[in-house]
Amino acid sequence: MSEQENTSIEVHNLTVSYHRKPVLWDIDFQLPKGKLIGIVGPNGSGKTTMLKTIMGLMKPDSGYVDIFGQPLDKVRERVSYVPQRESVDWDFPADVMDVVLMGRYRKDNIFKRISKEDKKIATEALQRVNMLEFAHRQISQLSGGQQQRVFIARSLAQQADLYLMDEPFVGVDAATEESILRLLSDMRENGKTVIIVHHDLQTAYEYFDHIVLLNTRLVACGPKEKVFTKELLQEAYGGKLTVLSKIGDLIAKEVFPVREPEYKEDKKL
């Protein structure tokens, strides 16, 4: 496969600002297809802005984003977005099914009724996140982990090829985290590309194949082994004290680059 054919997202010369303050500065990168990709960086480093700009929710001051070699509008059907869980009001009068069915809404069916096919796809999506028994539960009665799984089911119902998720692991319980990870690797097996904004350096190395390290500027982008070096992490996180100890852990990992399964068990306890 040529370079072009194997690219899911290409970001070129991208600068985005918020209230005239640049949040992303002259960013260039290409992301591969069929991988789990983490966008990682300290707080306020522009991770969410990156995702929103890719999704066309924020207008860049300069530069552009191509998805599968085309502008977003040409390939919208193939792209799905999972916003931050906190971005909606969970007291909204809706049940789980109502929300997942939104994944079937399109510009050209917005005036049409929900079809049997839509319902079938939404049901399958709920099944994949183990939430089918909650289909008619009001969303106000869900736990954080269940809310997150509803959002992921809604996204699955879009049947896209590229998924962009904003902090899907925040505020979820260990069991949900495990099941989301399993689902993500299933998706990768099926050739899907998943891009995840993630703030936790500790787990980033474990979860992703490919990492975009961001701090307003692009610090690094590549396979995780190449990105997670002492120098690059220090460049992204600076000399922040709390982070330095984490970096210490990560450097320790250079000695044992493969995460032992026992270690994961330990962490869950």
């Binding site: 929300v99 939104m102 809604r154 879009q158």
Partner: protein, 298 residues
């Protein structure tokens, strides 16, 4: 018979504004309804001045234009002007409403409208304003206009339900699907403008504002299902109109005022007795837990 027409008028206004108000409520934009219902005044006056009579169509057109202008003004004050949204709303509608007042007082003798009627309406006169067709009495004119608006709003919500629902729940997600969120926002605001202008002539701005927010809020307290919430809004609107009219007859007081107060009464009942969020249920729940507490206390 007069009572019937008045209650029907109140119910129609309550249903139409309440159902739209339910969407505003969930968008956390209830004050937007308040703003538009006041801001349409200059639009109405200017339309009067231009066409010179009370033909409803030109009034509606004037109201839609000014309603959209209000929406546009609020958004630009908050996004481009960097003011808080609530401040932008307050600025826009007081400015436009005052402009309307100046226009009315300047041209008061030319147009058949005054500020009193704008604020309080003349719901008591609804039964007098009848229309005839081939000498047949077709009933009060406001009923026909409000009925037409109700059909328009109901059909728009039925056809556009998905668009209104998704843009209300999760705007960014709707955008990511390529849905035209600006269209849905302005369509809703246009409907609020139409409803306001056709309602205020008969019931006054205060009752419209009350019906835009109170019945949907009461319904919100009683259900977690959006379609039930819309249905309950209509039910509470009807009950407010019915009992409000009875109260006004009993006290010989303002009909619109009584309807608003009764609507408020239902809201208080909701706050107290709502099965999910009510104070009484919450109090009972805390009682029910208490027998187990000694066991935990050790």
């Amino acid at each position: 018979m007069d009572g019937f027409w008045i209650v029907l008028t109140g119910t129609l206004v309550a249903s139409v504004s309440g159902v739209l108000g339910a969407f505003l409520l969930l968008r956390k934009m209830s004050m937007m309804g308040d703003a538009i219902s006041h801001a349409v005044l200059p639009g109405i006056v200017i339309a009067y001045l231009i066409v010179g009579h009370r033909a409803s169509f030109s009034l509606i057109l004037g109201a839609i234009l000014i309603g959209l202008l209000t929406t546009f003004m609020i958004e630009n004050l908050s996004i481009k002007g960097k003011l808080q949204v609530d401040a932008s709303i307050g600025i826009s509608f007081t400015f436009l409403f005052s402009l309307g007042i100046i226009l009315i007082s300047k041209y008061a003798n030319q147009i058949d409208i005054d500020t009193d009627c704008v604020l309080h309406g003349e719901i008591a006169f609804v039964p007098l304003d009848t229309i005839y067709w081939n000498n047949m009495n077709l009933g009060p004119r406001p009923i026909w206009i409000l009925g037409g608006t109700a059909v328009l709003v109901a059909s728009f919500i039925a056809i556009g339900f998905k668009g209104l629902y998704i843009t209300t729940f999760n705007l960014d997600y709707a955008k990511s699907l390529g849905i035209n969120v600006i269209f849905w926002h302005y369509a809703l605001m246009a409907l609020v403008s139409i409803t306001t202008v056709v309602s205020f002539e008969s019931v006054g701005a205060i009752l419209v504002v009350a019906f835009l927010v109170i019945p949907p809020s009461t319904a919100y307290l009683f259900t977690d299902n959006f379609k039930y919430m819309l249905a309950l809004t209509v039910v509470f609107g009807f009950l407010s109109a019915l009992f409000g009219y009875s109260v006004s007859v009993w006290l010989n007081s303002s009909i619109a005022g009584s309807m608003s107060v009764v609507a408020g009464g239902f809201l208080v009942l909701g706050v107290l007795f709502s099965p999910k969020r009510g104070l009484v249920v919450r109090w009972m729940r805390s009682k029910r837990i208490s027998p187990h507490q000694p066991a935990y206390r050790k």
